[in-house]
């Protein structure tokens, strides 16, 4: 119970701080953010957009880990865990895409411009979509678990190309890409200490929220399976 209150306070603080703290050219007090050239007020999205993008990748990672776990032990509980992770993953992936597109409208002038980062988040969306399409096409429980686990692992093998290689060798508009001169590696240099603090607090808060939601999600799937089995027996 204590950590739920803690999480509530943390996320409330991050939301208020992220939205309300002013951006000034030279910060004097602890609640003022520095002005990042080329980003200006748009920079504030980092507190909400980056955690959702980070969680969509984390969810995909957990989906893969439990898929490997399933293939090793053939325990259907692991399948439920990977399914719950993917359900959350697709939600956060859509959130990251939408918040990114809205931000791009104001920072770059158009909602979508096939920046490498946009391409990679789009590919992640496609992977999630294909994964759910594959699952819905198979009747047998074990077969569905095995095949979707195999597909999740194969899809995960392509993630390094999208997340780490493509954005760095292709030129792009996104802050942090290869030829990004105006708003550089945002996290290292352009943010001051309190902006970094709030950014990492937001990341931590959203990650805890994710694990809580994931825990609820997979336990409800397990209970649903149990009820189904009991009703079959009767």
């Amino acid at each position: 119970m204590v950590w739920k209150i803690f999480l509530f306070i943390l996320l409330a603080f991050v939301s208020i701080a992220g939205i309300a703290f002013p951006i000034v050219p030279v910060p004097h007090t602890w609640y003022e953010f520095p002005l990042i050239p080329g980003l200006k007020e748009n920079a504030k999205i980092i507190f909400f957009h980056v955690p959702t993008a980070w969680l969509s990748v984390i969810a995909f990672l957990m989906n893969t880990i439990y898929s490997i776990q399933y293939l090793r032990k053939k325990d259907l509980d692991d399948d439920a865990k990977s399914y719950a992770a993917a359900q959350l993953g697709i939600i956060f992936c859509i959130l990251a895409t939408v918040t990114g597109a809205v931000w791009a409208r104001f920072a770059w002038g158009s909602f979508w411009s096939w920046d490498p980062r946009q391409t990679s988040i789009f590919a992640l969306l496609l992977i999630y979509g294909a994964w759910f399409a594959l699952r819905s096409s198979i009747e047998s429980e074990e077969k569905r678990a095995t095949l979707s686990a195999v597909y999740a692992i194969i899809a995960f093998l392509t993630v390094p190309f999208f997340v780490f290689i493509m954005p760095r060798i292709m030129s792009g508009l996104h802050p942090g890409s290869a030829d990004d001169t105006n708003s550089g590696p945002v996290i290292d240099f352009k943010m001051n200490a309190n902006m970094q603090l709030i950014f990492f607090l937001s990341l931590i808060g959203f990650t805890i929220l994710y694990f809580w939601m994931w825990n609820l999600g997979y336990r409800s799937i397990l209970l649903k399976n149990k009820i189904n089995k009991q009703s079959l027996k009767e």
């Binding site: 590919a123 496609l126 594959l134 198979i138 095949l147 190309f161």
Partner: protein, 221 residues
């Protein structure tokens, strides 16, 4: 193991030559796809980058229409149980991969020849670079589509699902290969294309290792 994989490949080739189903439909598919593109272009002059993209669009969709045959045919004819008895999973995968590799290379050579005849902007200025990227790209395409075909065949041979599942997996390969084709059409050196070539090599190695490790799980029911 190698001789068995080769025997499997021979069997696939023989049964293919008997009916010529995949070859005929693939060649017709390529011709139809290219003529649709030519009709829609009309008299417009299209750029080199667009031509390189269209080249890989045709390759992707022809691969999607033909490459699932290798495994789906086994399931349709009910011969996959016999394969279970006579060969280990990795042997089956090697045989099927060899067959798909040959099919992909024949198909894409036709596409490349037709493109260089029919499209003005498609002139290969650095042939060595084109050949290397063509071989690496086709290998990656064959590997990824073979393992996805295996998944599809076990999922009840859903035809529409095949491109849906393959596209995200093939996307990094296709994006890089479009870039490589463009570079070779512009007559770039190997030095300029070294990043792209490295990506394609990494992709091939990762996919090959991954599919050999995972095929056991797909194949064994």
């Amino acid at each position: 193991m190698n001789s068995k994989a080769y025997a499997l490949y021979k069997k696939d080739i023989n049964s293919e030559l008997r009916t010529r189903y995949a070859v005929n439909s693939l060649v017709m598919f390529i011709i139809v796809a290219i003529s649709v593109i030519l009709f829609s272009i009309g008299n417009e002059k299209i750029t080199q980058s667009l031509t390189a993209g269209l080249f890989w669009v045709v390759i992707f969709f022809s691969a999607m229409s033909g490459l699932s045959r290798a495994f789906v045919a086994e399931e349709e004819r009910g011969t996959s149980l016999t394969l279970h008895l006579i060969a280990s999973p990795s042997t089956v995968f090697s045989g099927k991969l060899l067959f798909n590799l040959i099919l992909v290379f024949c198909m894409n050579t036709i596409v490349a020849v037709l493109f260089s005849i029919l499209f003005e902007a498609f002139i290969i200025r650095n042939f060595a670079l084109f050949a290397v990227s063509f071989i690496l790209g086709n290998t990656g395409l064959a590997i990824a589509s073979t393992i996805i075909a295996a998944i599809i065949s076990k999922a009840g041979a859903k035809g529409t699902l095949y491109p849906v599942l393959s596209f995200p997996i093939l996307l990094p390969l296709i994006l890089t290969c479009v870039q490589l084709t463009l570079l070779s059409n512009q007559g770039a050196d190997f030095i300029e294309a070294k990043f792209e070539l490295a990506i394609v090599i990494c992709y091939d190695v990762i996919m090959l290792t991954g599919s050999y490790m995972l095929f056991d799980f797909v194949w064994k029911d």
